[in-house]
């Protein structure tokens, strides 16, 4: 059961939420798009409900809230080392179902694969997710195929129009805040996509030697290794450790982690001038198989949540969906050969 709030009450609720949380949602950054005269839609803090973008997919995911593009791990001053403080305010992030599913993937790597990550954990514990429904699919979405179209483990579900804001809280803390505001008790079903324009079958078993299949060669000439597909992906989590010192005082500096891309040169370089996957086609293979093959082998479910952002962002128009279809055909060939 949720609560339908009149717009004025809803505005007061947001004001109250902003006292406790930084509220992040997809919003428009005018004229900041990749091409001239285009807007960028990405996550930012909002102050009003109308800032939320509903009719378009965000170009980037919410992940930069939990995993900043560049995050300071330690501050160095002469002999001392200091861990940066975490913000006292919590985070409230509005996400669609695919992105909410990606939180499980981020948790898997940062909380369960090896030791718990201190920086991720302290932010994650302070973060709540509000689900935004999807009345219909966008072009490149494959959430239905990936099984990420529906979500039940949201902290709250939000639906809004000009007149009012509907909020259903499953999280206790958010529920308490909502209770203080007068609204109409009502039940609205969570809107979710049941059909995507493209249906994709992810091959269950891939033949041995798939990494050397001829299908990857195509990408060697097409991919320019810019790494945008990694940066827009809500499940890509790689980073590189980096130390810097301050230009105006080289006795002080910091250790950071910054986003890394498996498509960009240097990702695998080790001492002795050795590097692995120098070919762009092999890098594409590494990424795609991670999304729909080897991650599942390790953790039991696919990494890809089917948001389609990598498909949308590629400057070379490399289609991830087409690649998955090719992979499906390669898997069939493999079966036929057996």
């Amino acid at each position: 059961m949720g609560t339908l709030l009149q717009r004025e009450t809803a505005d007061a609720l947001l004001e109250r939420l902003l006292e406790t949380y930084r509220v992040y949602a997809p919003k428009v950054f005018p004229m900041e798009g990749c091409f001239s005269d285009t807007d960028s839609i990405r996550y930012g803090e909002i102050q009003g409900w109308d800032e939320i973008v509903w009719d378009k997919k965000s170009d980037y995911s919410f992940k930069e809230v939990l995993l900043p593009i560049s995050q300071t791990i330690l501050y160095f001053t002469e002999d001392e080392m200091k861990v940066p403080k975490e913000e006292e305010k919590g985070n409230l992030i509005l996400v669609r179902s695919c992105d909410l599913h990606s939180v499980r993937r981020l948790d898997e790597i940062y909380l369960k694969n090896g030791a718990e990550d201190y920086y991720y954990k302290r932010k994650r514990e302070n973060t709540r997710f509000i689900l935004m429904g999807c009345p219909e699919s966008f072009d490149s979405c494959i959430c239905v195929s990936m099984g990420t179209n529906k979500s039940t483990d949201y902290d709250a579900y939000l639906k809004m129009d000009k007149q009012g804001v509907y909020l259903e809280c499953q999280d206790e803390e958010l529920g308490k805040i909502l209770k203080a505001f007068q609204g109409k008790e009502t039940e609205l079903p969570v809107e979710y996509v049941t059909k995507n324009p493209v249906q994709t079958e992810i091959p269950e078993d891939l033949p041995e030697g798939i990494q050397n299949h001829a299908m990857w060669k195509e990408y060697a000439g097409r991919c320019i290794g810019c790494g945008r597909c990694n940066f827009v992906c809500p499940t890509c989590t790689c980073f590189t450790m980096q130390d810097i010192f301050y230009k105006d005082n080289d006795r002080a500096g910091e250790r950071r982690r910054v986003w890394a891309s498996c498509q960009v040169d240097g990702y695998t370089d080790i001492a002795g001038n050795i590097s692995f996957r120098q070919d762009q086609g092999q890098r594409m293979r590494f990424k795609v198989l991670h999304k729909v093959y080897d991650y599942k082998k390790r953790f039991g479910y696919h990494m890809c949540v089917g948001c389609g952002r990598c498909e949308d962002v590629c400057p070379e128009y490399i289609s991830y969906l087409a690649c998955l279809q090719k992979l499906g055909r390669a898997a069939k060939e493999g079966q036929d050969n057996e």
């Binding site: 090896g114 030791a115 130390d243 982690r257 695998t268 002795g272």
Partner: protein, 262 residues
């Protein structure tokens, strides 16, 4: 909540120079550690570098470092009496139990000797714990040979072959390590155990030679060197297929190791 990224300070107790660009640093360390594991060694404001444990002593570990980048250059500037920051050890390392009672064969190339040196040292000192011990170590040239002091000791303790790719001086054995694998004495194949560590190509051909000798895949262990950036299974750089080398490796039985692809 513990923060794995905070390094501890470790005193440089001794520096041993092998070549112009490769030194061993004896670093103070108390705690569990296995040969083949690695530490993230760092100098604040310069960065971290993953370095394998090349020796284990009382209250210290030996790290052999090659001067190849920003961090390692800076490490070379710090000498005896100074200290470095470290976190770790990470990775599984070599489990000595697997090799006890075996006819142990170790084939290592270049800096690949470093991660396996603790195993050679241990069984060299405890020869009674293995049936036999044969070590082939290959380097590019006589000037590239690491651990010369240890080699002197090993010569007395085990069946040791040191080979270099090229040498002007005829006193050196020359040729690749693979050329000496057929000469290794093996009494009973079923008791054999082999460790191969080195550059990818060297490992591939060395394993092929060992298999030719009749040693089974499950009797061979390899150590995979990949980019270890966080050491904690997070940063992704070292992943091969479904395996995080920093967590599950770097040491693998060959039956598993051969399936890993980059």
């Amino acid at each position: 909540m513990s923060n794995e990224y905070i390094p501890f300070l470790s005193q440089i107790k001794e520096v041993q120079k092998h070549t112009e660009i490769e030194y061993s640093f004896r670093m103070s360390y108390v705690g569990d550690v296995q040969p083949g594991q690695f530490f993230e060694v760092s100098i604040p404001k310069f960065g971290e570098a993953p370095i394998s444990v090349s020796g284990i002593g009382e209250g210290d570990v030996e790290l052999t470092i090659r001067k190849v980048g920003k961090v390692t250059n800076e490490i070379f500037e710090n000498r005896v009496g100074q200290s470095l920051f470290m976190r770790g050890p990470y990775g599984n390392g070599f489990s000595l139990d697997l090799y006890r009672g075996k006819e142990l064969i170790i084939v290592a190339g270049g800096t690949g000797v470093s991660p396996v040196k603790g195993v050679i040292d241990y069984f060299g000192e405890h020869r009674e714990e293995v049936k036999s011990l044969s070590v082939i170590a290959g380097f590019k040239s006589p000037g590239d040979i690491l651990f010369k002091d240890s080699i002197k000791r090993w010569e007395k303790q085990m069946n040791l072959t040191v080979t270099v790719d090229h040498a002007d001086d005829p006193g050196w054995k020359t040729g690749l390590v693979t050329a000496y694998i057929p000469e290794i004495p093996i009494e009973n194949l079923k008791d054999a155990a082999a460790i191969v560590v080195g550059p990818p190509v060297m490992m591939k051909f060395s394993v092929a030679e060992l298999l030719k000798r009749g040693i089974k895949e499950e009797q061979i262990w390899i150590s995979q060197e990949r980019k270890m950036c966080c050491g904690l299974g997070k940063c992704g750089h070292c992943k091969m297929d479904d395996t995080y080398i920093c967590l599950d490796g770097p040491v693998f039985n060959y039956t598993k190791g051969k399936k890993l692809f980059d």
